[in-house]
């Protein structure tokens, strides 16, 4: 029973030592699927509460970071009586291999699910270096 509970609960993101957040909010690590589809790598991330205006996808060198900012919708004048999940931002970082065509990454959000399509770059042809010897 406790195992299934852990699976469906959001995981809070861990902070590196010595790093503090500037926003007073909780940050969760979104669950993801990473699928290799032919010429594309597809990343799906569950980020409920996020839409196309509140998600940031940044690429710095080989680090792809997704960040979803949440504006909690709290029912006015209501008191929370049962709380099974926490609300907060989402962040997760992936290291890309150099095979990705970084210019053509596409991102869409639908019903709180972020979909990133990373096309693989055309593989550079392996160059064969001829070895010549002296006779």
């Amino acid at each position: 029973m406790t195992d299934t509970l852990k699976e469906v609960q959001k995981k809070e993101a861990e902070l590196e030592k010595g790093v503090e957040r500037t926003r007073e909010t909780r940050v969760f690590t979104p669950a993801v699927d990473i699928i290799e589809k032919g010429n594309d790598i597809v990343i799906l991330a569950d980020m409920p509460g996020v839409d196309e205006n509140s998600v940031d996808v940044t690429l710095e060198k080989d680090l792809l970071t997704i960040y979803g900012k949440i504006e909690p919708e709290i029912p006015a004048n209501h008191k929370l009586v049962i709380s099974e999940y926490g609300i907060g931002d989402y962040q997760r970082t992936f290291t890309l291999t150099s095979e990705i065509d970084k210019e053509h990454i596409r991102a869409t959000v639908s019903d709180g699910v972020l979909r990133l399509v990373l096309p693989k770059a055309e593989k550079e042809k392996t160059r064969k270096i001829p070895v010549t010897g002296h006779a």
């Binding site: 029973m1 299934t4 509970l5 699976e7 469906v8 609960q9 959001k10 669950a31 993801v32 699927d33 990473i34 699928i35 290799e36 589809k37 032919g38 790598i41 597809v42 799906l44 569950d46 980020m47 409920p48 509460g49 996020v50 839409d51 919708e73 709290i74 029912p75 004048n77 209501h78 008191k79 929370l80 009586v81 049962i82 709380s83 099974e84 999940y85 639908s110 019903d111 709180g112 699910v113």
Partner: protein, 138 residues
């Protein structure tokens, strides 16, 4: 480790543990783990919010009986072809159903629900006839 039927009935504590867990489950106001819900109350109105990203809108079913709300829906798996492979598989998919008990009877005709950005929000007002009435003394 597998236990035989005989071992199970010979261990009364194991049985006791199982029974108490069953009892705890039925007396709790919410019936299952997924999806996690938050319940907000303001006097004669309750709001249930739940994060269910990627659910097909048509499959979301909300029904109300007395003081109990039943939620169900399903999330399709990503379509993949044979040659496609998962590097990571953390997303949940399948069918879910959950029951939530409120401290009052619900006016089913006035229930409103929205599903936006993967978050379902249901507003549930208390049944008018169920509200406390002031009795005038003649």
């Amino acid at each position: 480790m597998t236990t035989t039927y005989l071992e199970r009935i010979l261990d009364p504590w194991r049985e006791f543990d199982r029974m108490s867990r069953l009892l705890n489950r039925t007396s709790s106001p919410v019936s299952s783990e997924y999806p996690a819900v938050n319940v907000w109350v303001n006097g004669d109105n309750a709001v249930i919010t739940t994060e269910i990203p990627g659910i097909e809108r048509d499959t979301i079913d909300i029904s109300v009986t007395g003081n109990t709300v039943s939620l169900s829906g399903s999330r399709p798996a990503e379509e993949t072809k044979e040659e496609e492979s998962y590097h990571r598989h953390e997303l949940w998919h399948g069918k879910f159903s959950k029951m939530i008990k409120l401290p009052f009877n619900i006016d089913a005709d006035k229930v409103k629900a929205t599903y936006s950005k993967g978050v379902l929000q249901i507003s549930l007002p208390q049944l008018e006839t169920d509200k406390p009435r002031k009795i005038n003394i003649k």
